[in-house]
């Protein structure tokens, strides 16, 4: 078995809506049915007993090795704890070659699982040992490393529940929600609106205290002291007991609490000085530690945090008691569980010493022994949800504290006997506010109910009903894509939306080109969705990117399929037939949002069939409103777009909107059939987005077909009284459409300049000239700059074959070089003649033609 070309499909794809790895797997003849490999399955199941059955019950079809690989790769991920379920193996036309697709939740884990699965299969084949638990551990560790942490994960899940799309921007916790101008970002428990100044203020405990005090929030009064004597003076001013601690310390280092005597205070002062020069004396607040989580203007969760502790039973030593507690299966070692093991380290021993114990002491029954003066979950503390206990006045103080500091997400540390009564009534206070607070104690408290804090954070960023999406229109098809994409983008722009567009010429934001070259893949589309100035997006969605990586978006609002026709580029990447192509192009239709619309060409049966794969609604378009598909669809009260009396009509039930074709310049009064189709598709898409009809009409009217708008798409020039048309058409359907369009234009003598692209099938190349031969008097064949894998002269020969027995063509030339061919054709033109030039190097050729036209 050989595994080649492993791809990560990072969005909805040919196979599924989910992310997956795809590999080309070639099996030897014996491997085509593993039942033929003696003892293989038994060895396989011995190594990996969790492997699912290779066939459904009662099915005895041959299972190829590729399928084993598929199931092992899926099974390994599932056993490692990844939430994956989809996998599939598909034979190709070549015997022994399969496409294997396995879902992943993390790309790196999916790729590793595929590698490990291959090793596992090989081990079973060769009867070698394989360390499956080691492999699973490797996958688990990688998964833990790369997947989102629990806090960020909770926020992302909350977003997904609200149908808000997300994208990770880093390997860390920086995530962007929504698209374009509606994007918001988070990083763990920070939002993009979280103020850097507020975070800095929260770091400065003294300033925080001053501000909270101003806001009427109870805080432990205190001040910075100069020396031990001053510390005592301060303690007397404040009133005992007090706390002495370093001013900007953290994690409780150098802190002495509950100081009641001068001796204790002096010792505490010296201890604090070990860490910082600025020492603070403040009132000691007795009571429990509580953490109140404030999001926006609401307290959304509260937890009581207890330090790691054990309770004496009169029999066991402290060390034994700790070991017992650590047996609790909920106590893990990382951040993933609701409790963490209590550490028995120097800090624990020091803490014991303060309480008069050593590790081997046997505390009496019921005696609480604290193992560290810090209630962090990560050091063995516990969190108990107390959200519903919080008195409204306590919650109000927490909100006031967050507001005063300026934090939109804030962990407020309260010390009080209880949160059931106002702080003022019990000498409680707020001791600290924290930016980017940990959410684990609320998401997975050690005791009590989890709180939906991820949901609260999402609600703070996205108003109800806002899913952060901008209108996304995906366009695919064999011909007319680029013009349709440009026209839809133009209509969106005309209605005031800042529009991003990708197509085979580049990426455009508000008309400004930010990237050039073929940008019809998902990378370019993702860039548009990331752009802060984009209110709506139109993506030309070519097959290459869809095959390579899947779609750039999970759902689109509108999918437009212009046509499939006889197809193009058939034979590449296991897309062999028009049906294969239709299945591939259907992917955008399958991923239309439930509230979205698929715009489909009613005259193309392959496109019409896609309608049943759309979970949103469908708008059909066709010039002929009586076409059975159109008539049926309309009769059922659905949307259709057609042509009637020189008008483009959009109709649904009694609703009817009209645009005169005379007001749509690219159609030349409706004469150019394929432009009428492009206009109908675009109007249907604009209608689906919900644009105003006035804006649509204005947009259609102002969309001219100069080179600037769509270079290489039916660019018309006047050359010494002859009509010159330049187009990029390169497949039989495109050429047929061009011929139809050109035939409606009067001309004396008709000539055409053409080369064939070498990466088409022979019959496709021949067919182009077969069509042209019926419509043109002169045909100038030229050899294209790049032969795309064909031998010299091969393409021209094919083109010539297509002209055998041509009905109209009387004159054929073979010319070397595109520009020479153009110049030759121009030299022959007389007034009233017409010449169609099928250009290859779009920009250069257009520039050349423009130059010649200018010279004339």
């Amino acid at each position: 078995m050989e595994v080649s070309r492993v791809r990560a499909l990072r969005g909805p794809n040919l196979w599924s809506h989910d992310t997956a790895v795809e590999a080309i797997v070639s099996c030897t003849t014996q491997e085509l049915d593993i039942a033929q490999l003696p003892g293989f399955e038994a060895r396989l199941r011995n190594i990996f007993p969790h492997l699912s059955p290779l066939q459904p019950l009662g099915n005895y079809k041959a299972a190829p090795m590729a399928q084993v690989l598929e199931l092992v790769a899926l099974g390994l991920q599932a056993q490692a704890g990844c939430p994956v379920t989809f996998s599939r193996t598909t034979p190709t036309l070549e015997t022994g070659i399969f496409q294997v697709v396995v879902e992943y939740s993390e790309e790196a884990v999916g790729r590793l699982a595929l590698e490990l699965a291959q090793q596992l299969c090989l081990a079973a084949l060769e009867d070698r040992a394989f360390d499956v638990s080691g492999a699973l551990l490797q996958l688990q560790e990688l998964d833990e490393d790369v997947r989102l942490g629990p806090s960020t994960g909770a926020i992302v899940n909350a977003a997904l529940a609200r149908n808000i799309p997300f994208r990770r921007l880093t390997e860390g916790s920086l995530v962007t929600f929504g698209w374009g101008s509606k994007q918001r970002k988070i990083q763990a428990a920070e939002m993009d609106g979280t103020s850097a100044i507020a975070e800095a203020i929260a770091q400065d405990k003294e300033l925080t205290k001053k501000l909270l005090d101003s806001a009427g929030v109870p805080v432990p009064q205190g001040r910075v002291v100069l020396d031990a004597d001053d510390a005592w003076a301060a303690a007397c001013e404040i009133g005992l007991p007090v706390v002495v601690k370093p001013k900007d310390g953290n994690q409780g280092k150098g802190v002495t609490v509950n100081v009641t005597t001068r001796e204790q205070l002096t010792a505490g002062f010296i201890a604090a000085q070990e860490f910082r020069d600025d020492i603070l004396v403040e009132r000691y607040l007795p009571g429990h530690d509580f953490r109140l989580l404030v999001i926006g203007n609401k307290m959304v969760a509260a937890a009581r945090r207890d330090p790691p502790q054990v309770v004496g039973d009169g029999r066991h030593t402290v060390r034994e008691l700790v070991d017992q507690v650590n047996l609790d299966p909920r106590r893990g070692s990382g951040h993933a569980t609701s409790l963490t093991k209590i550490r028995f380290d120097d800090i624990a021993l020091a803490s014991l010493a303060k309480q008069g114990f050593v590790a081997e002491s046997v505390p009496p029954v019921g005696q609480r022994v604290i193992l560290r003066n810090n209630a962090n979950l990560s050091t063995g503390g516990s969190a108990t949800d107390v959200t519903i206990d919080v008195h409204p006045e306590v919650a109000a103080r927490a909100v006031a504290a967050a507001h005063m500091v300026g934090l939109d997400i804030c962990g407020v540390d309260v010390v009080a006997d209880s949160v059931l009564k106002p702080l003022e009534e019990q000498n409680g206070g707020i001791v600290e506010v924290n930016a980017a607070p940990g959410l684990r104690m609320h998401l997975a408290p050690s005791f009590g109910r989890p709180r939906p804090v991820g949901e609260a954070i999402i609600a703070a960023m996205f108003a109800e009903g806002d899913d952060g999406r901008i209108p996304v229109v995906a366009v695919t098809g064999t011909n007319g894509k680029t013009t349709t994409v440009r026209l839809i983008a133009h209509l969106l722009t005309a209605s005031g939306l800042r529009t991003g567009m990708t197509n085979t010429d580049g990426v455009y934001i508000e008309g400004r080109q930010i990237d050039s070259g073929d940008c019809s893949g998902p990378r370019s589309a993702r860039n548009v969705l990331l752009h802060p100035d984009v209110d709506a997006a139109v993506f030309e969605t070519a097959r290459g990117g869809m095959l390579r990586e899947g779609l750039a978006f999970d759902r689109c609002q509108v999918a437009v399929v212009t046509n499939i026709g006889a197809g193009d580029h058939l034979g590449l990447n296991y897309i062999t037939t028009v049906e294969d192509l239709a299945v591939l192009k259907r992917v955008i239709v399958q991923n239309v949002a439930d509230s979205g619309v698929a715009v489909l060409n009613a005259t193309d049966p392959a496109v019409v069939r896609m309608a049943k794969n759309c979970s949103g609604s469908v708008t059909f378009f066709a010039a002929d409103k009586s076409h059975p598909v159109m008539a049926t669809h309309r009769a059922q009260g659905n949307r259709v777009v057609y042509v009637e009396d020189g008008k483009l009509v959009a109709a649904q039930g009694a609703q009817r909107h009209e645009v005169a074709l005379s007001q749509v310049p690219i159609t030349r009064n409706g004469a150019i059939g394929f432009q009428v189709e492009n206009a109908m598709a675009s109007v249907a898409a604009a209608w689906a987005v919900g644009l105003e009809w006035d804006a649509i009409r204005a947009g259609l009217k102002s969309f001219a077909n100069e080179n600037d708008n769509a270079p290489g798409r039916f660019n018309v020039f006047d050359y010494k009284g002859a009509t010159l048309i330049a187009d990029y058409g390169h497949n039989p359907d495109a050429i047929l459409a061009l011929v139809q369009a050109v035939e409606s234009m009067p001309a004396k003598r008709r000539s055409v300049v053409i080369s064939g692209a070498g990466d088409r099938r022979d019959e496709d190349i021949r067919q182009q000239t077969e069509i042209l031969g019926a419509a043109f008097d002169d045909v100038l064949l030229y050899q294209d700059q790049c032969q795309r894998g064909r031998a010299d002269g091969e393409v021209v020969a094919l083109l010539r074959q297509g002209l055998d027995g041509a009905r109209r063509t009387s004159h054929i030339d073979e010319i070397n070089g595109e520009f020479v061919a153009i110049d030759t054709a121009l030299a022959r033109l007389g007034e009233g003649d017409l010449c169609l030039i099928l250009i290859d190097q779009v920009e250069e050729a257009l520039a050349h033609i423009a130059k010649r036209v200018a010279e004339a």
């Binding site: 920086l174 920070e190 850097a196």
Partner: protein, 725 residues
């Protein structure tokens, strides 16, 4: 002459708010000049000459004379030591870098004792300057040696350490220009602009809307580049490497010359440019790895051209500055260090400290320069040949203003870069040969986006026009019509002021505003008493102004507080004065007559905004007199509506509140509205008719509806300590 004369400070007080001297904070010193009372300046030989020689800048002091040289004229003609001290302390503050102008000296009832007040922007600096001024003046009087520079050095240090940095000061000054108040929140550059709920905060060039996540993104150069590139902003090609070998590999990949810099560094530390060879790239990697926090180092293509810094504030390009490369010309004799000192560091723009637009160039200390020289086969001690040009620093300090030359498409790219990262204020570093042309035409690129950018290069560019970046930041924070102010109501007096505050606190809170109040009975936030006990002091008032929730605030004050501390606010919407109090309260301030009391209390009326209202007790002749001082309008009150003051006021079409029969009447010119019958009030409230009238007049001036005023008053309980539900 016997050298035992001395100047003693009896008392030095920092008046932190508007006071009897001026609107702004001052230090008030009670100066006992002792027997110097008998020696005005013209009788002290050589004093004039010495002071003119030591502090020639005092020529600018106009003093009472009103023209340049005014003070020197007074000094020559004869003036007393306390007055001279005032001018010396102001001049020392100026020389130390804290510019102030206001000063005043008045004699007291005690011979030889003066009250001298001088403006200071920072208390510690002011106090130190005062001590230094006395020492200087005594040395001048006694003809002793005085080392001015030695005295100024610690003052300058204090100014550097305690005063706002120049960038922040520029923003605060711009706010002041727009009459937006400011308060410092810490000893650093964290400043609150505006009051209460209308406030905004700045910390140097960060605002309270500067996103922490955006700052995080900006400090991650690789992520920044990825995001910018995705959005079509031109950036240099390159990637992250973790070893010197990988650095060289990457350099070959993208093509030399390359730039090498730390992944997480800032301020150009550890950055090496224009590297061509393997050894240079590897050495630069080591430098960058040392300067950064990790081994991660960025290698990217070196964009040729000048480095530019463009400042974006709130989606506007407000300033652009260009850097210049530094070169020295060898003379065959001097070392590079010497050449740098004679050819570069002699530039008056260069020096140590934030006040100099350009830094001192140190070829033997700066790692980048050492490396740059090393690449040219030299050290700081090398002696270049005569005529040899040596590059010291490619694109050194950014300092030439080019704001007006930036091509619109460059501006578009820069603004987009700030938006993509998410910063409201950003300094964008860009390399381009010609900023007047699009970047795409010249392979220019944005190389970095900086949060909290330095503003100095734009405020004080080495060459070209200074840019009003502070004003741009203030404009970003406050729309044109915003003042940063919330309605503040000050109540000054000794009779019923606390009660008036409490009544108004309730009325304003009922009107739906979050209301803060400080008075003799404590501090109140809405209906809640937060502090009990006397809160008639500056600190308590300040707390209200800091509170981001407070939408309107009330402050009680009295003559004693004004004399001891100054008012807690710079201007107010409503200033209420009930009475001027008794002389007994203020004896220790050397206020011995009613004129003195009047002077203290009038501060309350002086600070009323032009759009505001003074509410004055017409039954008190001294208070009534203050009506003329008010920048805004005046509403009078008194139980007796027939008082001549009220009658005259009404004749002018103005407002007054009084009692007729048993009813409170609001009158404006000839139009009268009967508000309510006093019998409807709770007994404890009804017993304080004057206070009720003051509160009613103020509430009326605040446009509270009469229904609400009546409802509030009827439910108000004047019993102390409660807002009176």
């Amino acid at each position: 002459m016997i050298k035992k004369k001395n100047i003693e400070f009896v008392r030095v007080t920092h008046l932190r708010g508007p006071n009897i001297w001026t609107y702004r904070p001052v230090i008030e010193a009670w100066v006992d000049i002792g027997e110097l009372e008998d020696y005005p300046s013209n009788t002290l030989p050589g004093l004039y000459e010495r002071l003119v020689a030591w502090l020639p800048g005092m020529i600018e002091h106009r003093c009472g004379v009103g023209e340049r040289g005014g003070f020197f004229e007074r000094l020559r003609e004869g003036t007393w030591s306390a007055h001279i001290l005032e001018h010396v302390v102001l001049e020392l503050q100026n020389l130390a870098g804290m510019r102030t102008g206001f000063g005043q000296t008045r004699s007291t009832s005690q011979r030889g004792v003066y009250k001298m007040a001088f403006r200071t922007r920072e208390e510690q600096v002011g106090r130190a300057a005062l001590a230094a001024a006395r020492a200087l003046l005594m040395a001048a009087i006694n003809d002793e040696v005085y080392d001015l520079e030695a005295a100024l050095a610690p003052l300058r240090e204090l100014v550097d350490a305690r005063c706002l940095g120049p960038s922040t000061a520029n923003i605060v000054d711009a706010a002041t220009e727009r009459r937006i108040p400011s308060l410092r929140l810490n000893d650093g550059n964290l400043v609150q602009l505006g009051h209460g709920a209308a406030q905004r905060r700045i910390w140097t060039a960060e605002t309270d809307r500067t996103s922490a996540i955006a700052e995080g993104i900006a400090s991650d150069k690789d992520l920044t580049k990825f995001l910018l590139k995705s959005c079509g902003v031109p950036v240099p090609e390159g990637s992250l490497v973790r070893s010197a070998e990988a650095a060289w590999e990457e350099a070959q990949d993208i093509g030399v010359p390359v730039v090498v810099k730390p992944y997480d560094g800032n301020h150009g530390r550890g950055v090496s440019l224009n590297l061509m060879t393997e050894s240079d790239v590897k050495a630069a990697y080591e430098l960058a790895a040392r300067q950064g926090d990790s081994s991660a180092v960025i290698v990217e293509s070196f964009i040729t051209g000048d480095e530019h810094r463009l400042l974006v504030v709130g989606n506007k390009l407000v300033a652009a500055a260009k850097g210049e490369s530094l070169w020295v010309d060898g003379d065959g004799v001097s070392s590079i260090l010497q050449l740098v000192n004679t050819q570069i560091n002699t530039d008056p723009r260069r020096g140590e400290g934030e006040d100099f637009p350009l830094g001192t160039v140190k070829p033997h200390e700066s790692g980048e320069i050492v490396l740059e020289l090393q690449r040219q086969g030299m050290t700081a001690d090398s002696v270049p040949q005569a005529g040899q040009k040596v590059l010291i620093q490619p694109n050194g300090n950014v300092a030439i203003d080019v704001t007006d030359e930036v091509h619109p498409s460059v501006a578009h790219a820069v603004l987009l870069a700030a938006r993509v990262v998410g910063l409201d204020i950003a300094g964008i570093d860009l390399v381009a040969k010609d900023i007047t042309r699009p970047l795409e035409e010249q392979r220019g690129a944005i190389i970095e986006v900086n949060a909290s950018p330095g503003l100095l290069a734009h405020i004080k560019p080495g060459v070209g026009k200074p840019r009003a970046v502070g004003a741009a930041i203030v404009e970003h924070l406050f729309d044109a019509e915003e003042t940063g102010r919330i309605p503040l109501i000050g109540v000054t007096g000794t009779r019923g002021a606390s009660l008036i505050v409490r009544m108004l606190c309730k009325l304003l809170n009922l009107s739906g505003l979050h209301t803060g109040a400080v008075c003799g009975e404590g501090m109140f936030l809405d209906q809640r008493r937060v502090v009990s006990g006397n809160c008639v002091n500056w600190d308590a008032g300040q707390r209200l102004l800091l509170n981001r929730t407070v939408q309107t605030a009330l402050f009680e004050s009295n003559p004693r507080m004004i004399l001891a501390e100054g008012l807690a606010y710079d201007r107010c919407q409503i200033g209420i004065v009930t009475d001027t109090g008794s002389l007994d309260d203020v004896k220790d301030f050397d206020v011995l007559d009613e004129a003195g009391l009047y002077k203290a209390v009038r501060s309350q009326v002086d600070v009323v905004l032009p759009t505001g209202v003074a509410v004055l007790n017409a039954a008190e002749p001294l208070v009534l007199e203050m009506a003329a001082l008010c920048d805004g309008s005046v509403t009078l009150y008194a139980q007796d509506g027939e008082l001549p003051g009220i009658a005259a006021h009404l004749v002018e079409g103005k407002r007054a509140a009084f009692v007729r029969g048993n009813h409170i009447v609001l009158a404006e010119g000839g139009i009268e509205t009967v508000l309510l019958c006093l019998d409807l009030l709770k007994p404890a409230t009804a017993g304080n008719v004057d206070s009720v009238l003051a509160a009613v007049a103020a509430a009326w001036s605040l446009n509270l509806s009469t229904d609400l005023i009546c409802a509030g008053l009827r439910t108000f309980d004047a019993a102390p300590g409660s807002i009176g539900n």
